[in-house]
């Protein structure tokens, strides 16, 4: 029973993987369909003779963008909750004692919990992307495979960063609720920081737009800087989480 296996069991036995995969896959199917039938949905909600709303003809990128928008809101919150469930091991002192007095280094504990949460988030997002891909292809037109896969990969990097933020937050506060709140506050702060000059071009939050923009013809090179920053920030956040957790008293 290794720490990695323990984390997989946590996902499986607590059924958190179903919540995680369920929300991403659901929005993967619903996102493109919502875009495709936006006009009909709007009209069914009650139209007025005086006001007429015309939706432009949707393109495949709109369907994928709709999925990513939902995934990066609701999906991100669910991922933060799942990750906090694994990473807030100091939330209960007696629980923490079991691990802290046995592991040779706290990094083993943090890395396993971060790693499995991040992998689960990436797999769930990828499953949702596949659903969005299928749905967009059927309803909106063909979706280029290369751009779709690259966009999914870049967005996955952002999710890994989000889990690293949760790891960092869990080393500052102890309870799961506080960890989730702090993590989301940090993640929400990113786009606000992006308002400063050209900072947005470097921030991890830029990766969120990659799936849509790559499908719309933007070059992948535009995302190399934020991707590199995301990888470096993620590693730094995990390292900080280990250092701060190691210094924490129980």
């Amino acid at each position: 029973m290794t720490l990695w296996r323990l984390e997989w069991l946590r996902l499986l036995r607590t059924r958190r993987w179903i919540a995680l995969a369920g929300v991403f896959v659901f929005f993967g199917f619903i996102g493109p369909a919502t875009v495709r039938y936006a006009q009909q949905i709007f009209e069914s909600l009650g139209s007025s003779d005086e006001v007429s709303v015309m939706f432009p003809d949707p393109i495949p990128a709109d369907g994928v963008a709709s999925y990513v928008a939902n995934a990066m809101q609701v999906g991100l919150v669910v991922l933060a909750v799942v990750a906090a469930g694994a990473l807030c091991f100091d939330g209960d002192a007696a629980y923490s004692v079991f691990f802290r007095t046995r592991v040779s280094s706290l990094s083993r504990l943090v890395v396993a919990r971060f790693g499995v949460s991040a992998i689960a988030g990436v797999l769930a997002f990828a499953a949702g992307s596949m659903a969005a891909w299928y749905e967009s292809a059927v309803l909106l037109g063909s979706v280029p495979a290369r751009e779709m896969l690259l966009g999914t990969f870049l967005c996955s990097l952002y999710l890994v960063f989000a889990v690293a933020v949760v790891a960092f937050a869990s080393s500052i506060v102890r309870s799961k609720l506080n960890t989730v709140m702090l993590s989301l506050a940090i993640v929400i702060l990113m786009p606000i920081l992006g308002l400063i000059g050209r900072l947005a071009q470097w921030l991890p939050s830029r990766l969120v737009s990659a799936p849509e923009m790559l499908l719309s013809g933007e070059a992948v090179g535009d995302y190399l800087r934020p991707a590199a920053v995301t990888v470096v920030f993620s590693a730094m956040l995990v390292r900080l989480a280990i250092a701060m957790s190691s210094r924490r008293e129980i």
Binding site: T2, L6, R13, R15, I18, A19, Y95, T101, V138, L139
Partner: protein
């Protein structure tokens, strides 16, 4: 609806329906109150998929009730090589822990002999858990020094907490793995049998009572035969039978391991410990043998039974300068003396001079509890006095 829409929406509908059905089946099977079940069921259907997601992430109460399984008594533990005579594997000098202006520990000089069972006693808030936390490396001392083996120190908290979805067997395997060992299935079974949990080996820990959790806590603490065991109130949640089992186990552990366990139940300490440390308001008031604790705090008294007790005997005793008080009950006297030394030399002569027909006479020792109470209610003893 055209075929394109059916082709697109069919998988979405299948996924959504499967998700809702799965969540509803879990809601129905859970052991939460009926009203909560209805609320979750409505939320799951009304808010697809968020209702179901919220249920899977946050709902509680599906752990099931505690099964009625008989716990067998612990099996004897195979003794390890004795550690007696290896000095003090657990020792501290001037250990202090402050929280702001409050001193939780104040200059603790701890000496726990190798292979002994050391009882750390004190009322709630005395600093026992803080001291064990520092010894375990979970807290940092404000000042002072301590010595412990670098490896092989196991800790059990007051109420151990494990992931509720693991079985007892898996918890033991995990404990072994974390300390770099692999236990065979047979050895895991033996470890659980030693604490009387063999029948519960495959049960999920979430359904364990607090007493069972403490037994499991001791089982995982003993995995890998640690050199030092730090047990924080290991019997606090156990019924008398469970307490006896755990104390017997602690008794068998000493010798092979050095056991330090905290308790505010003096009878438990008296039962298994060779040595005792009395902690009160962060200070170690006494450290030494149990006998030493009792004898050092004796306010000496004698019980004297006479065949026929004359009033003149009582008066003669009351007149003796080393006698503090005389309590009479029928033909029996309880004589409290102010000086044990003088009483030993003069009490018999006083009785003889008064013509007392003494049938029985014995010094009255006091229990650990009385000594402890007196110690924690009066000025501190010299910490080294008992050694």
């Amino acid at each position: 609806m055209d075929s394109e829409a059916i082709q697109a929406l069919a998988p979405a509908i299948v996924v959504a329906v499967a998700f809702v059905v799965y969540c509803l089946s879990r809601v129905i099977r859970s052991d939460m109150p009926l009203a909560s079940k209805w609320l979750w069921a409505v939320a799951t259907i009304a808010f697809i998929p968020l209702g179901g997601v919220a249920y899977l992430l946050f709902a509680r109460g599906s752990s099931g009730s505690l099964p009625d399984i008989p716990l067998s008594p612990p099996l004897p533990r195979v003794p390890r090589q004795a550690l007696e005579g290896i000095g003090y594997p657990v020792a501290s000098r001037g250990l202090t822990k402050s929280y702001g202006s409050t001193r939780a520990l104040d200059g603790i000089d701890l000496d726990v002999p190798g292979g002994s069972a050391y009882g750390l006693v004190g009322p709630n808030g005395a600093g026992k858990t803080t001291l064990i936390g520092i010894l375990a490396g979970l807290r940092k001392a404000s000042s002072g020094s301590m010595e412990l083996p670098e490896r092989g120190v196991a800790v059990m908290p007051d109420t151990p907490v494990f992931d509720p979805w693991l079985s007892a067997r898996e918890v033991v395997q995990l404990a072994a793995s974390l300390t770099g060992q692999e236990l065979s299935a047979g050895r895991v079974g033996e470890t659980l049998a030693e604490v009387g949990l063999l029948e519960a080996a495959e049960m999920k820990v979430g359904s364990f009572s607090r007493g069972m959790l403490q037994r499991l806590g001791i089982a995982v603490a003993t995995v890998g035969d640690p050199r030092v065991l730090l047990l924080d109130e290991p019997c606090s949640a156990l019924d008398p039978a469970g307490r006896k089992d755990v104390l017997d186990l602690v008794g068998r552990l000493k010798g092979g391991s050095t056991v330090l366990f905290s308790s505010h139940i003096l009878a438990d300490v008296e039962r298994v410990c060779d040595r005792v440390g009395v902690l009160h308001q962060g200070r170690l008031l006494y450290q030494g043998s149990l006998e030493g604790l009792s004898s050092s705090r004796l306010s000496a008294a004698y019980r004297i039974r006479c065949r026929v007790l004359e009033d003149s005997v009582v008066e003669a005793l009351q007149a003796a300068r080393f006698v503090g008080a005389v309590h009479r009950s029928g033909d029996e006297l309880r004589v409290e003396v102010t000086s044990l030394d003088e009483a030993e030399k003069g009490l018999v002569r006083v009785l003889a001079d008064a013509g007392a027909a003494v049938v029985e006479m014995e010094p009255l020792g006091r229990g650990l509890e009385e000594a402890f109470l007196e110690l924690t209610q009066t000025s501190p003893l010299d910490p080294g006095g008992g050694l």
